[in-house]
């Protein structure tokens, strides 16, 4: 019985080694599988994974309108104070006061790309962009205002 197990073990080991070697031989002979991106050379055609998290941006449509209601959910969700929402009160045509954002300040130098603000946002106003060339000479340039100049909230977003 011992001898049977001994021989079985040897053949099992050889078989598992062969499986691994077949895999590496496949990669060795199929160069199309290579996943290396030659980054500065292929900047124009660079394809990043969908899940890549580069920085937080706020998409605007063609009428310069965004979806942010100024609820500060992102500010509360942020673990290290990267996002600061500065709110103001708009006067609606009916004469009521309505909360809106004045500025959404985003400190890229603090951001850890944890994605919590994006999941916290109830109206999908902010998303992660796929840009990653963030280096600048002055730290102040990393503090960004996400909503564009003179933008306002889209119709029908509460």
């Amino acid at each position: 019985m011992f001898l049977v197990n001994y021989i079985k073990e040897i053949f099992g080991a050889l078989k598992s080694l062969m499986v691994g070697m077949r895999r590496t031989l496949f990669y060795f002979t199929n160069h199309k599988q290579i996943i290396t991106e030659q980054y500065p050379d292929n900047r124009a055609t660079l394809k990043l994974a969908d899940r890549f998290k580069g920085e937080v941006v706020m998409p605007h449509d063609e009428n310069n309108e965004h979806r942010c209601t100024g609820c500060t959910a992102c500010e509360l969700a942020c673990p290290n104070g990267t996002i600061k929402v500065v709110t103001k009160f708009d006067i609606t045509p009916e004469g009521k006061k309505k909360k809106a954002i004045d500025k959404l300040v985003y400190h890229l130098e603090l951001c850890t790309m944890c994605n919590l603000c994006i999941t916290a946002c109830p109206s999908d106003a902010i998303v992660m962009a796929q840009t990653f060339e963030h280096s600048v000479f002055d730290r102040n340039q990393l503090t960004k205002v996400l909503n564009k100049e003179g933008s306002k909230i889209m119709e029908g977003i509460e």
Partner: protein, 358 residues
Amino acid sequence: MWSFSEIANMIHTWLNDTFSPTLVTIIEMVIMGVLVISLFAVLGLILVIMERKVSAWMQIRLGPNRVGPKGIFQSAADTLKLLMKEAMTPNGADKFLFNFAPYLAIIVAMLLMAPIVFAKDFTMWDLNIGVLYVSAVSSLSVISILMAGWASNNKYSLLGAMRSGAQIVSYELSAGLAILTVVVLTGTLNLNEIILSQQNGWWIFKGHIPIIISFLIFIIAVTAETNRAPFDLAEAESELTAGFHTEYSGMKFALFFLAEYVNVFIVCAIGATLFLGGWMPFHIGNWEGFNHIMDYIPSSLWFFGKTFFLIFLIMWFRWTFPRLRIDQLLNLEWKYLLPISMVNLLIVTAMAILGWHF
């Protein structure tokens, strides 16, 4: 036809006609030395770039691709860098042993070049105990590793060297027994005669399953003896930083590196000589046409082709298998390889006596 043996004979006769016999011997020695050193340099460059490319392709990477077309001059650039760097000696080190160890490693590798048959009738030293010489001298390399580890005055170096000692001493056994199976079949220790005995077929084909088993054992054992992954406990980057050559830099490190690659070449050359017929072309039974075509390929190409195939095999192992633990390493040798190779040797001896091989 230009062949290595004819060129060597031409030079030999020309030298004999021009100079006195003593001078001829000295000149030939110098030529040999220069040839061995240049072979070392070329082998180092080729094997390093080969390893880097093979590893890259097996790990779905591109590998070096900037210096020269497809990066083929990368290893030359690396060598230049290593030559420029300062070779430091740590303060607490044993200065003499520390500086001597890399040279010992390279000397052992050079000594091993002597009996290898590179092409038909082309060998430096056709000695009648070639196999014994190779297995005896190759075990000296452990001394250089232990010397380097001890002299470095660094616990990681010493640990790496000790592991390497245990490993090389134990794997020498099964490598020796695997070599013995071929010696038993041929009845000679002369590498040239071993090659000539494979005229009608390489031993791996003639020797049936027992020789295939001993070939596998040989490959496993020499992988361990040359300290390459999956048996690279001696240098284990992730555990011991670099093992015995942690403290080395510049050209002294490069010598260790070179010695490792040349050792890989030598064990593969020995494996090709013993099991794959050295420079013997590939023949199939009575297919006259096919055999004639095979004879047209120069014998040196056959030898280097087989050797590089085995080197590729060893690189393939390195980039596929995970590293063994020290207890697994010794288990593999003492519980599996050694008993199997002993039984195997017995079977091969019976085969040789009863004439069961072709």
